[in-house]
Subunit: 296 residues, 2 copies
């Protein structure tokens, strides 16, 4: 089965569990709306790629971890779009959850998805409890306070921002979770995989800054120019478009170089390369060469 099919199946299973009778219909529908059709599913793809690179001996557990990570990502998007944050009317080319279903249901959708994420891991049949528990712990660490995506959003309410902590938490955290959780689900030690996740996260942040600066709302599927509008720190303001593009390539090369030695190292490097192709926005893609994979 392809990674995408595995992710869709695992995510679908989790959603159907949340929708079981006697669920309130509209919240059940809003949860599905928030998660499907999916975006690029980059984080769970990385998670499963790392698990496969490590041999993936417990596919049910890695599938559950992938679904959990994707649900968390979707939850953060739903809450970030709320009027009190980005006040975004659109997401992935359709109305945001609070626009389609109401603000109370958007808050509850995010809350329900966060909870469903932990449930997905804890419910995995046949999983070694200590591994499942380590996944719960890692997911919590990379989503909550003080190091996770909640902290990342929290930094935007501070008058003085610790930029490194901010970026690491805001964008890095879920990518680090992806590589750590992929390794854990496959029975490997998480620590050697932190750097790969951190570097991919950093690349993603720069790519996002470039997209926000270079693309229009129609291509983005959400409002453009938000960083400038909200005065958020971003790589394009700091380095210019060319500088940010070069930085993105350097980071991706470093990411590939950081992959720990494992049976599926070469395939994983190709996956990171493919991810890079996807995340570099079209207008910036022609400003230099794509990074080369060592040995290819």
């Amino acid at each position: 089965m392809s990674l995408n099919a595995r992710i869709d199946q695992a995510v679908g299973q989790t959603i159907r569990r949340a929708q079981r009778s006697p669920a309130p219909d509209r919240l059940a529908a809003a949860i599905e709306y928030a998660v499907t059709p999916g975006g690029a599913r980059i984080r769970p793809t990385i998670l499963l790629s790392v698990a496969l690179a490590c041999g993936d001996p417990n596919p049910r557990l890695s599938d559950a971890a992938a679904a959990a990570l994707e649900l968390m990502h979707c939850a953060s998007l739903v809450h970030d779009d709320l009027p009190c944050f980005d006040n975004a009317d659109m997401r992935r080319g359709k109305p945001s959850v609070h626009r389609a279903y109401s603000e109370p249901l958007a808050v509850l959708t995010g809350d329900s998805l966060i909870i469903a994420a932990f449930e997905a891991i804890a419910k995995t049949e046949g999983a070694e409890p200590s591994k499942a528990l380590e996944l719960v712990l890692t997911l919590a660490k990379r989503t909550g306070m003080p190091l996770g995506i909640c902290a990342g959003q929290g930094w935007e309410s501070e008058s003085k921002i610790d930029l490194s902590a901010y970026h690491m938490a805001k964008t890095g955290a879920l990518f680090i979770a992806a590589t750590e959780m992929g390794a854990i689900a496959a029975g490997h030690d998480a620590e050697p995989w932190v750097e790969l996740g951190a570097r991919i996260g950093e690349a993603f942040q720069v790519a996002d800054d470039l997209r926000d600066a270079l693309m229009d709302e129609a291509s983005l599927g959400k409002p453009a120019g938000q960083d400038d509008l909200h005065g958020r720190p971003n790589a394009v303001a700091e380095f210019g478009v060319d500088g940010a593009t070069q930085r993105l390539r350097d980071i991706l090369a470093g990411a590939i170089a950081s992959i720990p030695s494992c049976p599926g190292e070469a395939a994983l490097a190709r996956m990171v390369q493919a991810t890079a192709e996807k995340i570099i926005p079209e207008p910036a893609r022609h400003r230099g060469m794509t990074p080369r994979i060592p040995g290819e």
Copy 2:
């Protein structure tokens, strides 16, 4: 150590973990503000009382479970107070989190508390992983969709409400979680404890309806008359004040009768009785006798 002291210590430990540097200061402060000083801590008190009735052989795990449950309860209060739900300016006699810290920080506080709850359980030192995992699963079931407090809130966005599912999820869920998790943490089977939790939850809902109808904002520490204002189904509208008070007494007697046979059965019955004294609002207390504990 008293139950209150155990709960305060466990909750404090979890909050301090969430506040560790490099946490954003305001979100860190908002999290503490949302959880301290605590309310009556009724849910974690029930949890620890059930654990003690079952012998409480793993106090670190039952403490973590109690903290997790209280954090979830606080998270739900913070989100329920938001402008798009109750729009409550006050909570526990002080400004609600979104009034004191801002709406974005209130959303993030709730999210962070939900995550910290699961983390508290997963991080318990020396706990048997399968027990910790069962606690994670039970907490998720009783807080998310389709049976938990998120579902309970979700029912309020439906045009046709399944009243039984609504009450069970909205108020019952966290009390069922309390009795189930107390039993699990002590190594007992959760199922025989569901009824006690459900009945306490039902009593609490009726007591809450009475308080909302009979008391003023100053005594409640939050706006009164909200059920009427929002046209929510409630026991006072259905049975009148006397009928609702009698119903409350009947439910509490049933709760006490439902306690499974266990070493600390009598002490637990006294605890439920004491809880009853606390939750029956003053103006209704003199409308009849307090329920008697069988055999006392």
